[in-house]
Symmetry: C2
Subunit: 229 residues, 2 copies
């Protein structure tokens, strides 16, 4: 469990570093360093060095990192040099919003199919994807070579859908239904709980402002947040 969580946070940070490198590349900058990255993008330089060291030796003495080389290496580590084909199960507002989002984002993930039970929706096109009958799930997954499933159905149907997804051999799942799901440990599930982010904003709003408008930490230390002048 712990090993898993660490690697999830690490890979999330690698994704962020990759975004930063793309930005540097677009600005024509050829070399950088952990300190430079940290300064430009408000990251932690020691954390950058630690995260990268986990995967190998990328720095060049006296230079730092070559932007294009590191970008390519991170792309490979994250498996972003390989295309993945996504299906979205549930073509309600969340499902269609996600189809838009991923099409716009232009990653190596293409949404190739949506699934629904609503006969009036089946056959419609959404971007490059078609909405299929959920009864044809196994057939379409095989035909389209789908390897990632996104669950965007109401909470009460989500576990049943996950069982269906697992039964056809899909190994990577994103779950947008607001409940935790159970499955084999050989399937990687990311449950995206959008209320957790809200609750953390709630925590922030609940903090009393101390002297000088600084937010007081429960241990008595002041955070760096300042009151608006």
């Amino acid at each position: 469990m712990k090993v898993e969580k660490i690697s999830e946070l690490t890979t999330n940070r690698l994704s962020i570093y990759l975004r930063c490198l793309k930005e540097l590349s677009a600005s024509g900058i050829a070399t950088t360093s952990s300190d430079d990255l940290a300064k430009r993008f408000h990251l932690n330089s020691a954390q950058i060095r630690k995260d990268l060291a986990y995967f190998g030796e990328f720095g060049v003495r006296g230079v730092g990192y070559y932007v294009e080389t590191l970008r390519e290496q991170l792309t490979n580590i994250l498996g972003l040099n390989k295309d993945h084909r996504i299906c979205i199960i549930g073509s309600g507002r969340m499902g269609t919003a996600l189809a838009d989002y991923y099409e716009y984002s232009q990653t190596n993930f293409s949404v190739v199919a949506l699934f629904d039970t609503d006969k009036s929706k089946i056959g419609q096109k959404l971007g490059n994807a078609i909405i299929y009958d959920i009864n044809k799930f196994a057939e379409i997954v095989e035909k389209e070579g789908i390897d990632v499933a996104v669950i965007a159905v109401p909470a009460q149907f989500a576990q049943g859908i996950l069982d269906l997804v697992a039964s056809v051999g899909i190994k990577a799942v994103m779950n947008f239904a607001p409940i935790p799901l159970k499955t084999d440990e050989n399937i990687k599930i990311r449950t995206v709980d959008l209320t957790i982010s809200l609750e953390s904003l709630s925590y922030f709003l609940a903090q009393p402002l101390g002297e000088n408008g600084k937010i007081m930490k429960p241990n008595g230390k002041k955070s760096r947040l300042k009151k608006k002048k």
Copy 2:
């Protein structure tokens, strides 16, 4: 920056503990412990103790935690005993999907308004919220007592919208536009990047299976993930 991040991860975990306590409470369980919580919900007991210790002394010697008491304490720490009023800016697929999601989730956050520039949408109702003209933003925010803004507009408009949000004194923002935004450090922004979760699944799919079907870690250690039997 670092202090901020730690508290973000910590508050996210507190949200998770709170969900677990609600489940125990619903099952009629009156007392628990960090070990019991860890076992039931696949958490880390040392982490639970550390996270809770940061906010005070909640355990009772010989008992552990009283479920209802701890639940109430976490609710108060997270500020979830206070209602918040949300607006969603952008009433496209993402904005309306989020309005549904938050209405369904029944948290202490109520979506009271959406904003758009599309005249054909203005005046429509969505659940308990009305879609307003973005030109009336400051007026409606004041009238409705809105304290949290959710940005769900296309990327190219997101920074302008954030500036508008900041100008009316809103301090907590969730951003669903797929770009980083800049603002005063006294405003708390959560950018929810849905492609980062996908990239982490990509990492998982890219890992070679070693002997016995175990995923090989780059440092040569085997993770606990097992191949399907």
